[in-house]
């Protein structure tokens, strides 16, 4: 199947050169792995030259134990929904990602969410404060080294948190042909 991005990808290759670390196509989804330096240039090029009017999402990954530790993922789309493009860039723990608010206003809350949950800072963001947790909450809950049960905190008159009893959980399923009791155990003890 010919890619609908057959014009976009060569243009991006030409504009970014060595900034593209690798390209992945999987089931019609195109992903470009970029260096963090090339990311803002790539985003601006996609918005201004290739007419990706829509920023669908900014998400993030925590490759705990690896270096660079984090990765940001940008999902772009054209407004007529014919073209989708995913841009990824790895981020070291002490690095910050340049904001893309000047390109898409949608980036505002997405970047705040990434900051709130994963603790990746965005440089140039005019209002980089927490969006889901409250201002002053000391942890980044979606990091791999943060326990699912949570950690106790207390901010008087604002909010507090406690530790949830997991009772041997988390209760997860694993793909198997075994019966329900084995597939969804009440508790699976982790080694």
């Amino acid at each position: 199947m010919a890619s609908v991005l057959e014009n976009d990808l060569p243009a991006l290759r030409e504009a970014l050169g060595a900034g593209i670390i690798s390209e992945v196509e999987f089931r019609g989804e195109n992903t470009l792995n970029l260096s963090l330096e090339a990311l803002p240039k790539a985003l601006a090029f996609c918005k201004e030259n290739l007419n990706y009017e829509l920023l669908l999402d900014i998400s993030s990954l925590d490759h705990f134990g690896d270096d660079p530790r984090f990765e940001v993922v940008y999902e772009l789309a054209s407004l007529d929904d014919t073209r989708h493009l995913r841009l990824k860039a790895k981020v070291f723990e002490d690095e910050s990602v340049p904001t893309s608010i000047h390109l898409w206003k949608a980036a505002d809350w997405h970047e705040r969410e990434v900051w709130d949950m994963m603790g990746i800072p965005f440089s140039g963001h005019p209002n980089l404060k927490r969006i889901l947790m409250w201002e002053g909450y000391p942890f980044f809950p979606l990091r791999k080294d943060f326990p699912l049960a949570g950690r106790p905190t207390d901010m008087p008159d604002v909010a507090f948190t406690g530790v949830a009893p997991l009772e041997g959980g988390p209760f997860v399923t694993a793909p198997t042909t075994a019966d329900n009791a084995k597939r969804e155990p009440r508790a699976r003890h982790q080694e």
């Binding site: 326990p147 699912l148 008159d157 507090f160 406690g162 949830a164 009893p165 997991l166």
Partner: protein, 178 residues
């Protein structure tokens, strides 16, 4: 005919309402009035609130029990129905609303989340509203059906029936002034 002017002793007795006199204890009368006009404070926080709304509407109709007067001001409410997941972010707001409700007041934890945190064993969710405010009735279910909520409210009515509010007040009064 003997009138009040003739005999002051009969002035306190009016034959027109003779048949409507009921002898009871103050506590029993107060409990009867309280239990049949429970005004709920709907603390709808998640999907349980949908069942709460269904309970209030015509098919299930809690006005049969005098509970249809949902008060969105805590100052006019008697029973807080905590319907849904209480996140830590919301927890102190729920507590604040509870503190604004005048005594006597009761609390119903509706559904698994309000009772125990439910399936949300996570950093974000309070593991049961009873950690912050005293709960009178817990209702199981995820979410509970309207019948279950009505059952819970009727259990609360039974509980109110057994209260001794004036007796307790009198006891405290004498203890304090002994």
């Amino acid at each position: 005919m003997v009138t009040a002017a003739d005999n002051p002793a009969v002035a306190a007795y009016d034959s027109k309402i003779e048949g409507n006199i009921v002898f009871t204890k103050v506590d029993a009368a107060i409990n009867w009035m309280r239990k049949n006009s429970l005004w709920p404070m709907p603390m709808g926080l998640a999907c349980c609130a949908i069942e709460l709304m269904a309970t209030a509407s015509s098919r299930f109709d809690i006005s049969r029990f005098g509970m249809e007067v949902m008060r969105f001001s805590p100052r006019q409410a008697d029973v807080m129905i905590v319907a849904g997941t209480v996140t830590y972010k919301m927890a102190l707001a729920v507590k604040r609303v509870w503190d604004q409700m005048p005594e006597p007041k009761w609390c119903i934890a509706m559904g698994a989340c309000a009772s125990s945190g439910g399936m949300y064993r996570s950093y974000a969710v309070l593991q049961g509203i009873d950690q912050l405010i005293p709960v009178d009735v817990y209702i199981s279910g995820c979410p509970p059906r309207p019948e279950a909520l009505i059952e819970g409210l009727m259990k609360l009515q039974e509980k109110i029936e057994l209260e001794h509010s004036t007796q307790d007040q009198k006891k405290t009064f004498f203890e304090e002034n002994a």
